[in-house]
Symmetry: C2
Subunit: 475 residues, 2 copies
């Protein structure tokens, strides 16, 4: 072996090392192709902030339709509204997709109070979605406070004739408030079915929020497959009422709670997903879907949940049109019906995809409120997950730092299969549960710029997905 | 040369390459020392979110003192309030530091309207801080609309007898709204002094906000060193009024605006910075200061500007005490007086540091609102800048991704000198100018968790600065 060979080897290794170094030091700089993307993303954000329509759409929906429970006349109005705004936005086609949805009605304003030492203490209350009514004159009974389903499950016979009070609060040390929600919401969903079999008369559940305030937060509950004879009414009380009741119970364990509600489940109603699309210029048969849900709870106007999600989703297509971005694949917006009470809309959508063998290559959902952008969660194969993460340098200038593996959402999540890249838009979560499912979820709680930045974040993500996911499409 | 040598060389180079790779792949993992820091930072956040006091302090200040203009009786009340809460927090020492502050009063509610084609159009208006009054009966004159100081400067004699209307809006495409503010605020500060010399009768300035709404936003203006004979009154009108006026001017360039205000500048008043500290266990003579400003404008309650900054600053020391963190250096909280109308408080503070040769090694300011955390800006030498940036991996889990070079703030910024590491706390900026200097800057606009996350962010930064900046202290 000669010196020359040694030098040669040296040179190769030195180059290899240098290359690695270069890659590292330039990781925050952009390639020529990335510069093109950065320019288009800037245009998308500029357009959303200067000429976005989402805020006015949301004002219209929340003011002129308001809360829109699945199966309600307001939900039917919302379908017409959705069809109208999509047509106005000049999409290539707009259509309705039928789904049979639950039709639960709240009935008269609920009443709850407790009597302790001869004094009456009112509690802010609302029936939970899906719950049956109390008897016409309400129920009055002693109360057992529990902190978990497990604790309730262990009650057995002592629950008979009692009202069971689920009072485990949010874990406020969790930075992402959705994690705190996830850690408490089983009480709302499964409380009633857990203690119905013991002969409990009703359940009252601490509202699902980080705050101590006096708004009850509704939401769905389920009887599952228990016999109808075990169905008992379920209501949420405000966190303030829960704190007060818990305190009073420590002083007077025999105090009695009164609850009256007249909610009921009616036969299913025919409703619709509202769908529109811009056809792809190269692969019109391949679809990237973007959506949120059109239905909402009835106490507020369904602004953050999920009015913001649907107007942002439509804005994505509007931003493509305004900026003359011609997607290679078909970009489709879906206003899903009935996310809140079972997801019949997204089930109908997913079923249709399967039966027609329609090819979906991606989906983005916005159902976490219209707050300032933080990032995206990705449910995809590892190659596409890494691809989406690699766009962080393009997206971070807009506050989109958190681009991580995670779920997409209840609606587009049903499209999960190999080769489909599903994404959840993740705005800042701190204020979400101030409003979620409560009377406070109204238009004035939505900041125009935060909403618009969200639309632009989603449009930028979909622009990149349309351009770069192509080769990852299933056959 | 033998084969062995070649293999040896190969091995060395291979190891070198591998090392680089390892460094890269483990960059997001923590060393043992970092794990200790991560644990303490987690405890700081947990305590802020579960047992923080900032939200109740802010409720007290905004409700029981309210708006607190420098030199006003409310500002004097705020000083007493500050002294009281610092003493209650159990700091090692609490004292007042005198400063002579401006005393400007707004007087009666201002009136502005325009008459066009015989119709009267009211405009939401407020005098700008520091402005003189109009004549008792107000002024009425034709209007010249300009978009910049440069354009106003070019008016010359045609400005005589006119009201000059500064109407350059925020650039809403700037993601950080402070950049948009910075690009427009010269109109408010320097409009009057630019056209006073031409004999203009008054200036009205479009409010400094991203939104189109009907709230006038006050703020300081300056006559600088122009002769008093050239002083003319200056007011802000709401962005909605500005849009309407501009539109009407296009149709009727000779319409007349009426403005009446009775604001005036009184002799300076004695006021105080409120100061408290926890003495350092190793280097009590070395100080890290944390602060915001105690004064505010008068239209709202001074919640986000800067009630949140001062309660967060005090919370930093409270979190140190609650978590039994013994700082090596002295940690000092300062509620600076008069940030809004000239910074006389911070000037007094900086002057005292200079005359007593007190050693400051760091300073952190919170004066950008109590919104969800985004990061910090650093004004320090390059070694300390790099050091602070290296903490991103510890802070990113709390939403603190943006840790970059930049200014600290108007108050601690005056401590700038070699060896001092100055830091600005940077929450999300999207909502700040909705409330800034307007009647809408009230307690209910502050989200408890966002406020508390800010306190914990600042406390974590100061914990790290106290621990690691030590060797960078000046002698």
């Amino acid at each position: 072996m000669k010196k020359l060979s040694i030098l040669f080897l040296f040179a190769i290794l030195a180059i290899a090392c240098t290359k690695k170094k270069e890659t590292k030091t330039t990781s925050n700089e952009l390639t020529a192709a990335e510069k093109v993307d950065a320019t288009i993303i800037k245009e998308i954000f500029d357009t959303a902030l200067l000429n976005g329509k989402s805020h006015e759409w949301l004002r219209d929906l929340t003011t002129n339709v308001g809360g829109r429970l699945s199966g309600s006349p307001e939900a039917a109005m919302a379908v017409k509204w959705g069809e109208h705004v999509m047509k106005e936005a000049g999409l290539d086609s707009v259509w309705l997709q039928p789904a049979m949805v639950p039709h639960w009605i709240r009935g008269e304003k609920e009443v709850a109070y407790y009597i302790s030492d001869g004094k009456k203490f009112d509690m802010a209350v609302c029936a939970l979605g899906g719950s049956i009514s109390t008897p016409r004159d309400g129920v009055m009974a002693e109360v057992i406070e529990v902190k978990s389903i497990k604790e309730a499950e262990a009650l057995g016979a002592i629950a008979k004739g009692k009202i069971i009070f689920f009072n485990r609060p949010f874990d406020n040390t969790l930075i992402n408030t959705f994690s705190a929600y996830g850690g408490s919401v089983d009480q709302r969903g499964s409380g009633a079915k857990t203690v119905g079999k013991f002969g409990a008369l009703a359940v009252i559940v601490r509202s699902m929020t980080n705050n101590i305030d006096n708004y009850p937060h509704t939401g769905t509950m389920r009887y599952g497959d228990i016999p109808e004879s075990e169905y008992i009414p379920a209501a949420a009380i405000s966190t303030l009422a829960a704190e007060n009741l818990s305190k009073s119970l420590k002083e007077n364990p025999n105090l009695k709670v009164y609850l009256k509600q007249s909610s009921k489940n009616l036969p299913k109603e025919k409703s619709f997903n509202v769908i529109g699309e811009i056809r792809g210029s190269e692969n019109p048969e391949k679809v990237i879907v973007v959506g949120g849900h059109l239905d909402s709870w009835d106490l507020g106007d369904g602004a953050h949940d999920d009015g913001t999600g649907i107007v942002q989703s439509l804005e994505v297509l509007h931003l493509f049109k305004t900026n003359k971005i011609k997607p290679k694949n078909t970009i489709r917006v879906v206003f899903f019906m009935d996310e809140e009470q079972g997801g019949s809309g997204s089930k109908a959508y997913a079923k249709n995809v399967k039966t027609t063998k329609e090819i979906h290559i991606g989906g983005v959902e916005s159902d976490s409120g219209g707050f300032t952008p933080r990032g995206f969660t990705i449910d995809a194969n590892s190659a596409n997950t890494d691809l989406l993460k690699s766009w962080k340098k393009l997206l971070a200038p807009y506050g989109l730092h958190d681009i991580n593996k995670g779920g997409s959402g209840a609606d587009v999540g049903k499209l999960k299969s190999e080769g489909v890249t599903l994404v959840g838009y993740r705005p800042d979560s701190q204020r979400y549960f101030d409003y979620h499912h409560a009377a406070t979820d109204t238009f004035d709680k939505v900041n125009k710029r935060e909403l618009e930045l969200g639309s632009a974040s989603m449009a930028s993500m979909i622009y990149l997905m349309d351009k770069y996911l192509y080769n990852n499409a299933p056959n």
